[in-house]
Symmetry: C2
Subunit: 410 residues, 2 copies
Amino acid sequence: MSDEKNTSAERQIEILKRGIIDLHVEGELLERLREGRPLRIKAGFDPTRPDLHLGHTVVMSKMKQFQDLGHEIIFLVGDFTATIGDPTGRNAARPPLSRAELEEGVRTYAEQAFKILDPERTKIMFNNEWLGKLTFADVVRIAGKHTLARMMERDDFTNRWRSGVGISLHELLYPLAQAYDSVVLKCDVELGGTDQLFNLLVGREMMKQFNIRPQIVMTTPLLEGIDAKVDERGCIDGAKMSKSLDNAIAVNEPPADMFGKLMSIPDPVMWRYYDLLSQRSSEEIARLKQGHPRDAKIALAAEIVERFHSREVAGQEVERWNHQFQKREVPVDLAEFEVTIPGPQDSLPLAVALRAAGLVKTVSEARRLIEQGGVSLDGERVTDMDLRLSHGARRTVRVGKRRWAVLVVQ
Amino acid sequence: MSDEKNTSAERQIEILKRGIIDLHVEGELLERLREGRPLRIKAGFDPTRPDLHLGHTVVMSKMKQFQDLGHEIIFLVGDFTATIGDPTGRNAARPPLSRAELEEGVRTYAEQAFKILDPERTKIMFNNEWLGKLTFADVVRIAGKHTLARMMERDDFTNRWRSGVGISLHELLYPLAQAYDSVVLKCDVELGGTDQLFNLLVGREMMKQFNIRPQIVMTTPLLEGIDAKVDERGCIDGAKMSKSLDNAIAVNEPPADMFGKLMSIPDPVMWRYYDLLSQRSSEEIARLKQGHPRDAKIALAAEIVERFHSREVAGQEVERWNHQFQKREVPVDLAEFEVTIPGPQDSLPLAVALRAAGLVKTVSEARRLIEQGGVSLDGERVTDMDLRLSHGARRTVRVGKRRWAVLVVQ
């Protein structure tokens, strides 16, 4: 996490390639790193996106690595499209943002982003500054350099075209807008999620057409959610982290939840999170792999809680965890039980959940155990017999001395 | 040709429908004509087009009919695209026009157009006035109301897409630009060639989206060239008039050439020209059909020469024709002979051409006939034995007293 301005190009490539999906093209990146100057790194963000979760921070973690290596980071806010809105009116629930709403969105976004990035060395820019000045004539000139066939190579366009789902003409213009950002910024590298690969490559092409040295394109994978499973070959099998799939860790989540959720993920998923989220060096991670997975998991949870809360809070969480769980030898990979809330309610009593999960035989047994202080949630003894678990809750539960499990309420 | 402001809507429809290919939709046109106000008629023109020929004037003849019926004519100059040029650079020979070049082009164009239209009652407008002010954001909003699928319904797009010929993205924007003109002008009717049907209908749709009463769309057919043949069923079979096909009559062509060329077309083609170019009423044309075709052809040739030159010149041409041809009973449909210039030259002697066409047996015979005053071209006796015919020439030739033919030099 130290400033590594004098790191060799080869060493930098090694650091920067970690977790990357696409790199167009490595030779060019090496060449530019060898020039010894700070490279200009661009990553675009949509200010209309609601609260960030860890999945959104994968690109930022990569930006942070560039930053720590002495490069120049441009945090590009896509306010041009945000203030236009979706002209098809398909998404009536999301009207164009007003300038004030936009600024509030950006403020929140930046506040969360600066828990990872160094604000002193991050340039926030707004693409409406130049896209808002383009005329129809400019757009015709830019569009004239691209063919429809090339644009239709984008997977989602191809699929929608084949399946007869309408593609609105303005959607063909957005990749050009994003590409034109790169022309204006003359960036060396553009970073984005792997779902952005096509758009980033349009930027690369457009720069060539404007006789500008074309940007290097790097994409990061989509982070799996905390419900990801591991198959018999040890491969991770899970959907990407998403608020709507209820498998996300929000960056503004309370420290105990954040810590607890991270402690609940299977080991291979933990190493994946290390690759994509941790600022630790590959050497440090290699050393952690030689130790006990539980220690590595605690170190990861602590690093993430420290990032989004504070070092102090992270220390408290580690201590609490050690106190409540580790000394009793909590199994690291806990069995997970899903319980469903019946009918129209949005919560259910803990005693009912324990029975539903099969951790006790009857609801009465559960209530008796709670009364005797024999049940704890996330390391805290339960004293309220009528405690209810809300929809979406994910709690580590101990029943008696030895029965541990993760309860997921749906 | 008189001002028919008080003509009934039904009678107007009858006049306006003559020669029309598409009319979307007749009921609406009737309804608006019944409102008794001057309708706003739009037709767009490309100021970069070189010299006009009669084919270009078909739309103008229809405009003139509207004008004579008391409607408002907008002669819309497409200067927006003309000053952008073709961004693909495919047409390197035609760079974007400078403002001065454009104005010169418009001046020439208008000069030619006003031989048909009444300048006092024609509004010349330039679409760069509003299209030049549109921003990228406006374009996104406009484009968002149209789907790619709809745009690809245009025949030439479909064909090019299927055959793998590149469609540049800016080409998808041009129909939107043209349609937006209609939104701005709030026109009642848009006129154009039949190849413009799709674009005119996009205008109609876009007006609906902008909650403007949608324009009526009328298209005129493409005029066949003077080389059009007539098949055994009496149907016209010929390519459209085009300078590059060497079958055109330019509006600034010398009167004798114009008159001669018009006298050389077959009768069915003449009636076609009447429908599309003449300002005579359908009743007058019906009357002409009852007379001798030769008289009708002379009347057409005279009308066109009068339009682009003067009444006086037209009278002279008729007189000359009568003097040279009619009294000798020129056959109305002359046989046509094509002769090819050999090798790298760009002209060939008349004597050689007569021999090549088989009108004489030897070149010597041709020369002797010329010497004796027995050969005439377009009604004028040839006195120069070394007279040469240029590439592209189309001359009516008489050899001796009775042998008439049209010579086409290639």
